[in-house]
């Protein structure tokens, strides 16, 4: 009986709640649009295909790694070895390529090496129950050493018209190959997250590992797959970066990318304690970070000022999209 009397009041309240959510959702977008508008105003040449091209090309490795990281974090883990795995994959490909193995085998070899690293991570984490951050720290340190050992020297260069370098500059229907791979990877991950049993199992493990074990999810295999998937994406990122820059620098390739990737995933809204993987969010996060670098570079910002600028933008975005 108090039902009818209260419907309108409650309805109004519900609308208010919905609006508050809108503020949060659209807040991020308006914040971004506003900052882009301001940037465009004081950055000559900002609104152009070239800027987009720069941003996407520079976002490419971060995005690929962040996609893998999204799955890892959705399983409640973390992977700080992503940069080292990029280096290993790059080194293997580079080494194979310089010993005239041909383009396809070199690329395949690099991807295989990356996958093996992921297998190593996943096995240690799930079978030996060592904390993900420690396992991947080991791989981060030893892996980078391994990459340089594989390469045998600090850096290797390919001639400008070698097939590997041509691959890096290749365009498909006018689009740089990196952008095509990026679109494919995002589509694939969206499919995986939305449609597959695997992703649900990953989410379940991240949400409550104990319950996941008791419903019979194969934690060992699923965890291993998550890290392998992440590593393969890292490997592709690493190899493509080698192809783009026409050289391998095993000591520097992918260094510190783990921080950018984790930041991208966090900006995207995937929780650090596991749970739902948000691919779209990750994409936005992964593009924001290089975009800030591009803006800083285009405006000739000093390096240390760019650091502060980046920090302010990241904190700003997160303050707007915070969930309380």
């Amino acid at each position: 009986m108090p039902n009818s009397a209260n419907t309108s009041a409650l309805g109004a309240f519900r609308r208010a709640i919905a609006q508050r959510q809108n503020v949060r959702n659209y807040g991020v977008w308006s914040f971004l649009l506003l900052s882009l508008g301001v940037t465009a105003w004081f950055t000559p040449g900002f609104l152009s295909w070239g800027t987009l091209d720069n941003t996407l090309i520079q976002a490419f490795p971060v995005l690929l790694v962040a996609l893998g990281m999204t799955m890892v974090m959705s399983s409640g883990g973390i992977d700080i070895s992503v940069g080292a795995i990029m280096a290993i994959a790059g080194a293997v490909s580079g080494r194979l390529y310089t010993s005239n193995a041909g383009l396809a085998p070199s690329v395949a070899g690099g991807i295989l090496a990356g996958g093996l690293c992921g297998l190593f991570n996943g096995t240690l984490i799930s079978k030996f129950k060592i904390q993900p951050i420690i396992v991947t720290l080991v791989v981060m340190i030893a892996g980078r050493g391994l990459a340089q050992t594989i390469l045998g020297k600090p850096s290797v260069s390919f001639s400008f018209n070698s097939s590997l370098n041509v691959l890096g500059q290749y365009k498909i229907a006018g689009l740089p190959i990196q952008i095509v791979i990026m679109i494919a990877a995002v589509a694939m991950m969206l499919f995986v997250v939305k449609k597959t049993v695997f992703a649900k199992h990953v989410e379940a493990i991240g949400d409550n590992p104990r319950a996941a074990r008791l419903v019979g999810i194969n934690i060992l295999r699923t965890t291993a797959c998550v890290y392998v998937l992440c590593s393969i994406l890292c490997a592709v990122a690493g190899i493509m970066k080698v192809a783009l820059t026409g050289g391998v620098n095993a000591a520097g390739l992918g260094k510190f990318i783990e921080l950018d990737a984790i930041a991208a995933v966090a900006i995207g809204g995937t929780s650090f304690s596991g749970g739902r993987a948000r691919i779209f969010g990750t994409v936005i996060g992964a593009v924001i970070i290089p975009l800030v670098t591009v803006i800083a570079g285009m405006n000739d910002m000093r390096d240390h000022h760019a650091m502060i600028f980046k920090a302010v933008i990241v904190i700003g975005v997160l303050l707007v999209r915070r969930e309380r």
Partner: protein
């Protein structure tokens, strides 16, 4: 002389504290030292501080605890690494300073300092740019891709470059962005600079790898580079002497390299032996660097590292 060296070196150990990481230059330098030490019969070991000052001070302490006969110190930072000298002096281990400058007292803290003069290299690079343009060119707009912020060689080269530019009304530094001595970082920086629409005639890079990144970026964005500005080619000058860099000079994409040679291990060991023989050395022994261009690149090809 070989013989005398062998007897002087009997049972003597030399340790090198390298500030660097896996960078071609540092590898070449330490392997030269190793070769030279073996040739002269010293036992030799090396530590790598991975560009971290605190790590280097620890490395030196660890080395000194093993009581080597000599310490070869490549300071990470001119001022902040100076504590390493104190550690060595306290233990009575004589020090030869290499790679770059350090604050300390000649005689008390170190035997001598041997390294390339980065300020000189910076000046030479800027001069090389100037010489590439005809005298009637009104403005020479320069982009600098510099090394890791705060590192001593970056600081030195930047200073040298500015010294020349500031004293020449025609020369103008339009952009300066970090390349962190790395190909990919430099490539991204160069792409962003191109995209910003700023006009420039020349690029100065603090290292060959950065130059390679810049070349990749320019190529990708459809720019030409070479030795002839009148044909719209951008002049790229850098510091280094890596095989990759030398090949690019030969290919005509990289205008000039001011070398920073890692081949002075003999000088270092000569200094050590002179000290053993009781001779007093000069506070600073300069390492001679050269400018490599299309004309003399073949001659120096073998020195690439």
């Amino acid at each position: 002389s070989c013989n005398r060296g062998a007897s002087a070196s009997k049972g003597k150990s030399v340790a090198y504290s390298s500030p660097g990481d896996a960078n071609g230059w540092f590898l070449a330098f330490s392997s030269e030292l190793k070769k030279e030490a073996e040739k002269r019969g010293y036992s030799f070991s090396v530590t790598h501080a991975q560009q971290n000052t605190a790590r280097q001070l620890s490395d030196v302490e660890d080395i000194i605890a093993q009581k080597p006969t000599f310490l070869i110190l490549g300071p990470k930072d001119t001022k902040a690494s100076a504590d390493a000298l104190r550690t060595a002096r306290k233990a009575g281990v004589p020090v030869i300073v290499v790679n770059r400058d350090i604050n300390g007292e000649h005689g008390a803290d170190y035997i001598t300092k041997i390294y390339s003069d980065f300020e000189w290299i910076g000046e030479k690079m800027a001069q090389a740019v100037r010489e590439a343009f005809p005298a009637d060119k009104k403005t020479i707009r320069i982009v600098e891709i510099h090394g890791t912020l705060g590192s001593a060689n970056t600081t030195g080269m930047s200073k040298g470059i500015r010294k020349v530019i500031d004293n020449d009304a025609r020369m103008e530094l339009v952009r300066s962005q970090p390349g962190n001595f790395q190909r990919d970082v430099a490539m991204a920086a160069m792409e962003n600079i191109i995209q910003s629409g700023v006009e420039f005639d020349a690029v100065i890079c603090h290292y060959d790898d950065e130059a390679m990144g810049a070349i990749q970026a320019l190529t990708r964005k459809g720019r030409k580079m070479g030795n002839d500005p009148s044909r719209g080619e951008i002049i790229i000058v850098g510091n280094g002497g890596t095989t990759v860099g030398l090949e690019a000079v030969k290919a005509g994409k990289y205008h000039k390299i001011v070398s920073v040679t890692p081949y002075y291990a003999d000088k270092v060991f000569e200094a050590i032996e002179a000290h053993l023989a009781g001779k007093k050395l000069d506070p600073y022994i300069r390492v001679d660097d050269i400018v490599i261009d299309k004309n003399n690149v073949d001659k120096h090809m073998a020195t690439g590292f």
